[in-house]
Point group: C2
Chain length 375, copies 2
């Protein structure tokens, strides 16, 4: 029987989650959940004669990662993540389209699985919707967007729940993935001397959000000129993010990344999360940050600061990862057409988290997304 | 590599979910989700050289069960379920207490795992909460209620998400369980001639809901007399349901149940769900239905019909299951102090789903809970 119970779970995904909370919550809440979930006074109360697994398995701990890891016995681990999207907090019905919303609901969870270096396999989708949109084709279109992305990555919808809400839409997206045993990439593995990389480019999603806040809408755009086409592309980076599934797999399977996180809250906040979990510091070169070219192009005319958008803008869903010096040469130049940029280096914790701008070095504050911050 | 990919997933939990929808939705929605989730035109678009699992595993299908089943290679299957609770649809803040809400959020998912005959192991909890209650102790109390139940069954919280909502609380509870390979009990295994059983007693949760709708509240009760104590117990059956985890395990592990479902929507609806999935009919004896004694006691004075509450009242979270004649003698009398009652028999599909009352037999309509029904 024992060979059936030797399983480990590495708790994970109080993440984008608790990290978006206010100052009281961000740390207190993670501490509270970690403390409570580690409490080992548990006793199986079910009839002992009926218990397949009478011996609670040995569990490691570590809430505060992109996804939780459940160790299987077949040389393979299961990773699982959940992401809650709430209307008016995470999206506005008048700024998106149902199929884009379905895409994004899945994309944010795929991004978490990618950040663990795992292969996404299965999904569950819980939706709460008001009665007035039930009879429209909103829900069907939402699922079409979900399925279109799921099929690209061979992810299978295996369950979910539907409930009625008084007014607002809520969506909880759950994705399970797999990786070889021990290959899941945690946030906690960065070492001083490791190089810091980011996939793709930054700031476009936040720029899209700012433009929407100023009234830009997809349906208003005819894409008749270059400017309109650029705006449309920025809006789509916010509304239809592309998870870096291919990069996550390469970095996880080939054990190239020593630590990894997806950029959901913003580079400044997410770098702090990674450094906290790894108990290290970091310095990034501001000139190396891959600001999205569209952001750089439009920013001046629209009073947006490209570097601030790239540092503090959330939801780029690029991967931020660290690589030890000996593995740098093994990194492919591109995966799925997406390149990577070395933006800095991991330092000792005592050196803090900093940005270097020429000869000036300043301390980097967490300036990313926070659900409970009053703006 | 192939031994790593021979995995199956039996989709599951579009259940309490879609079954609570209106007539257009209840069937169309399940059909749509089933059709789409079975679509096998998927192609893995990630860089083939980077794919651990290039061959999509052979998948069985069957959305429409209490939980989804993922077949592992270790003689053990993983089951997973998700349940969305929305304020004003599924609970009212002024009628419950935060720790009871935390208990219930987990209990409803444990009940799904029990209905699969599996051992609950891990949980994730996503919550969306308005800013005004974030700084109160509401969330802490909610988690205390959750953890108190989790610890009774040795279930470990491994992740979750927190988001801000404009006004209403939403909770998505995800539970993963395990069972021996092939031991998961589906809704679809009932055969004509099988006997139909239910755990515990029925109607108390619905009676508690009716009393709350008429203004009864836990805090108003001093439990100073028998009547108040009875009301309090009925309210608690609605607010703090007990999942039948022990019974689920016995019935699953010892392969005693040929099919099983938990009574979340109500006996009449859930019996229809079981019969539909098994393609059978059933007859239940109204005199055998184990109406909760408190319901019977209070019903007359409060103009409630005990039999209607037991048939159509939802959220009893008892288990409804079928047993072949040769296995009847192997059933224990009680598990965890809870007994079972034989309430009827499985028939051929052509005989429909009926209730016998003495010599009269009438057709049983689905009269249970429906999220999208206008009352």
């Amino acid at each position: 029987m024992m060979d059936e119970v030797e399983q480990q779970a590495r708790p994970g995904s109080y993440k984008s989650s608790s990290e978006r909370l206010s100052s009281r919550s961000e740390f207190d809440f993670i501490t509270y959940i970690r403390r409570r979930s580690n409490k080992r006074e548990m006793a199986l109360k079910a009839d002992p004669s009926s218990s397949v697994f009478p011996d609670p398995s040995s569990l490691s701990c570590g809430i505060g990662d992109d996804a939780a890891v459940i160790k299987q016995l077949t040389g393979r681990d299961t990773v699982i993540t959940t992401d809650l999207l709430v209307e008016e907090s995470d999206f506005r019905r008048d700024s998106t389209r149902p199929h884009l919303l379905g895409h994004k609901a899945l994309a944010v969870s795929l991004s978490d699985i990618a950040a663990m270096g795992a292969q996404p396999r299965w999904a569950l989708l819980s939706i709460g919707i008001p009665l007035d949109i039930w009879d429209s084709d909103f829900v069907d279109q939402l699922y079409e967007g979900f399925f279109a992305l799921a099929e690209r990555y061979d992810v299978r919808l295996i369950g979910g729940d539907v409930s009625r809400t008084p007014e607002k839409i809520v969506i909880d997206s759950i994705v399970l993935g797999e990786c070889r045993s021990g290959h899941a990439v945690a946030r906690s593995g960065a070492k001083p001397g490791d190089h810091l990389f980011v996939t793709g480019s930054l700031g476009a999603s936040a720029a899209g959000l700012r433009l929407m806040e100023r009234g830009a809408r997809l349906q208003k755009l005819g894409a008749s000129d270059d400017d309109s086409r650029s705006i449309e592309q920025l809006l789509l980076r916010q509304l239809r993010p592309e998870p870096r599934v291919g990069w996550g797999l390469v970095l996880g399977q080939e054990r190239l990344a020593s630590s990894m996180i997806d950029l959901s809250d913003g580079l400044s906040s997410d770098l702090h999360h990674l450094c906290q979990e790894s108990r290290v510091g970091a310095v990034i070169e501001s000139a190396q940050i891959p600001v999205d070219p569209l952001v750089a192009e439009l920013a001046g005319r629209r009073a947006l600061d490209p570097l601030i958008l790239a540092l503090n803008g959330g939801e780029d869903f690029e991967l931020l990862f660290t690589v030890s010096p000996e593995n740098i040469c093994k990194l492919p130049a591109k995966v799925d057409g997406v390149s990577i940029t070395q933006i800095g280096q991991i330092k000792k914790a005592s050196e803090g988290v900093c940005v270097a701008e020429g000869s000036r070095v300043w301390s980097l504050k967490s300036g990313g997304w926070d659900h409970f911050k009053i703006n």
